[in-house]
Structure formats: C-alpha cells, structure tokens
Subunit: 230 residues, 2 copies
C-alpha cells in the first residue's frame, strides 16, 4: 500500500523531461523548417517514440503549439520585468521597453510569430486564462501613466496611449516577419525600423535621446561588415 514515493517522483520527473524534449524538438523544427514541417510523426521520430505516445504527454497538436507560446511568453516577460527593475525612470524605461520589444521580435521571429501573429494556438489561448500578455500590457500602461504624470507624455487615456505604442511596435515587426513590405528592400529593414521608431517617438516627446534598436555590436551587422571588407 505504501507506494514507493521515490520512484513515483522519478517517473514524474522523467515525464516532465520528455515533455520538455518534445517541446525542444517541436521548436527546433519550427525554427528551421517552418510550421508545415511541424508534424506529430516528425516530432515522434526525433524524440524516438511512436506518434501515439505523444498523446499521453499532450492532448493534441494545438496543445504542443500552445506550450511553445507559453515558453516564449515567459522569456519575453522576463525581459520586461528585468527592464522594470533596472530602469526606475519611466521615460527611459518606456524607450528601452520599445526597443527591447522590437529587438526581441527581429531576433526571435518564430517566437514572436507564435505569440502574436499565428492563428494556430488561439483556441487554447482563449480557453486557458493566459495572462502573460495581460501582465505585460499592464506594465506598459503603468509606465505610460508615470510618463504622463511626470510630464513626458501628453495626458490622455492611458489604455489608449499604451495600446497605440504597442500597436506601432507590433505592426512594424509583424509586417516584416510576415513579409508584407514589398515596397521596402530587405536590406533597409533595420534602417526603416529605426527611422520609424525615432520619428514616432520624436513626435510624442521632442526631447528624447535616440538610441539604436539593433546595435552595431549585434551579430548580424558585425558579420556583414566582416564579409564586406574582406
């Protein structure tokens, strides 16, 4: 009767490990080969199980995708929270948050797509009360409110203002990620992104300090320079 607690704990841990491995593999396939390549059989292959086995770890495919969304959201939220405590000055924090958001999207387009663009996981997102983006938005609104109180932003409905800023950053990166910018050549993406960000921020607060979104020390640019000069 007194079941061995150790072994049941270990089994639980092993289950959790396989669960994580499934997600690792799914994310890896998604990143390397795109959504249509993410297949139950393909994942099962790579974790060396049978397709049916996955169904004792996840209810269905959508649940796997949703788990990837949760993962990505925690990553992004951690980033926001670190800025929250590192930058007490609200205006500075607002800027930094905007830049960080865009940088995250450009450097992790697949994760961004999962969280904010894809339609695949929205069923599960509606079912579960998934409040990661909810808390992120509250953080942004709080920052906006502080900026307004301290005179850095024109006073207005904080919900509307926060939504406006979020809309801009989301709009710009999602147009790029989903390649809806035929009018702009791809090599100018970084510049236009930077220019648009500065244009809007300048309009809202004329006295800001412009800072690069994608810094010169970022991997991409460095790589290009090296190739170009040689």
């Amino acid at each position: 009767m007194a079941k061995n607690l150790k072994s049941i704990q270990r089994r639980e841990r092993e289950r959790e490990e396989l669960r994580e491995q499934i997600l690792d593999v799914a994310m890896s396939i998604l990143t390397k080969e795109g959504y249509e390549a993410v297949t139950i059989r393909r994942i099962a292959d790579e974790v060396e199980y049978t397709p049916g086995a996955l169904y004792s770890y996840f209810g269905d495919k959508e649940e796997i995708i949703f788990a990837l969304v949760v993962r990505a959201s925690k990553k992004l939220n951690a980033l926001f929270l670190s800025l929250e405590e590192a930058l007490p000055h609200p205006l500075e924090r607002l800027w930094a948050t905007g830049r960080a958001y865009m940088r995250f999207a450009m450097e992790h387009p697949v994760e961004y797509d999962l969280m904010f663009i894809m339609s695949a996981p929205i069923q599960k997102m509606a079912e579960c009360d998934f409040n990661e983006t909810h808390t992120a938005f509250r953080l942004l609104r709080k920052t906006v409110e502080e900026c307004m109180k301290q005179g850095f932003l024109p006073r207005a409905d904080a919900d509307a203002a926060a939504f406006a800023m979020w809309s801009f950053v989301h709009g710009s990166v999602s147009l790029m990620i989903r390649k809806r910018l035929a009018a702009i050549p791809e090599e100018k993406y970084d510049d236009v992104l930077q220019g648009a960000f500065n244009f809007l921020m300048n309009a809202m607060m004329p006295r800001h300090q412009e800072q690069p979104i994608i810094t010169p020390s970022a991997p991409k640019v460095l790589a290009k320079k090296k190739i170009g000069k040689k």
Copy 2:
C-alpha cells in the same frame, strides 16, 4: 484549320466564370467557417464539380488563396484611389486614409487577414511581382511628403514616417483580428482603437480635427437598413 473563334471565346468566358465561382465559394467558406474549413473537396462540392476538376483552373490550393488576396487588394486599392482624387488636401487625405484603412480592416477582417497577416499565400506573393501593396505604400508616402512640405508634419525620412503610420494602423487592427488583446475587453475595442488613433495623431499634429473611425452611421448599419426596406 480556321477554328471557330466564337466558340473558343465562349469557352474562355465560361472558364472564367467557373474560376470566379470557385473563388466566390472559397471566400464564402473562409468567411463563414474559417481557414481550416476551406478544402478542395468542400469547394468542389459547392460548385458541383469533382476535386480533380479544380486543378485545371488553379495550379494548387495556394493559388486559390492567392487569388483571394488579389481580389481583396484590388478592393482596398480602389478605396485608396478614391480618397486620392476626392481629397486634394494632403493632411485631410492622410487622416481619411488612416481611418479608411482601419475601418476596412474592422469591417472585412477576413480579407484583411488574407492580405496582411496570413502566411498561407506568401509563397505565391513572393513569386508573382504583386505590387498592389507596393502602389498603396507609394500613395501613402506621397501624401506624407506633401504633408511635410506644407508643414503639417515634422520633416523626416518619408519612407520611415509612412512606414511608422502604416505600422500603427496595421498593428492595432491585427492585434484585434488575431485576438491578442486579453487586456482589453472586446466591447471596448472600438473606443480604444479610436483613442489610440487620436492620441498618436494628436502627438504628430497637435491641431487636427478628430473624427470617428467607426461612425454610428457606418455602412454596416446602413446596409442593414436597406436590406430591411426591400
């Protein structure tokens, strides 16, 4: 040898009609039941043909989806062009274009999704030199340039400014269409949208005239009335 021109023309016309009918049916299913319901067999059923028959009208399913994108784009572009010639004043035109864009998206979310969010048709969009959005962007940039020249907007890179504005409107409507706004209750969507639009426009041009995006007398309501009268 001298083939009957009349009959070949008629056959051509009949082919074109079926092509259009296929697209009508596909769009109708997409609108009513969502993307996963749009199936070759389902379309074939509704046009009373066999699944294989559709393949002599479209190369593959993606080509059908892409044709829907083309249709929607023509509709939106016609809207932009009508504003272009109706409103010579650039600032007025800029405002009206922004509002029209948002209204179009909120009233035709499926069409908007096809054009600017979905990943399904992007392969074909890249292959064909599909320049509808390209010309729309040029129109916007021209308007922005005129606004700058006449002092309604701060002088800056027109590409960046136009992109900034497009990013904002796209971002706001696509967050709503893809239901990524857990933080905001659905019944407040219209208000927040309006508030955000005004906040941003106010910031860029302090002396503007606020106008509703979704008016109480919007086409939706009118259309319903008309149908009712008949």
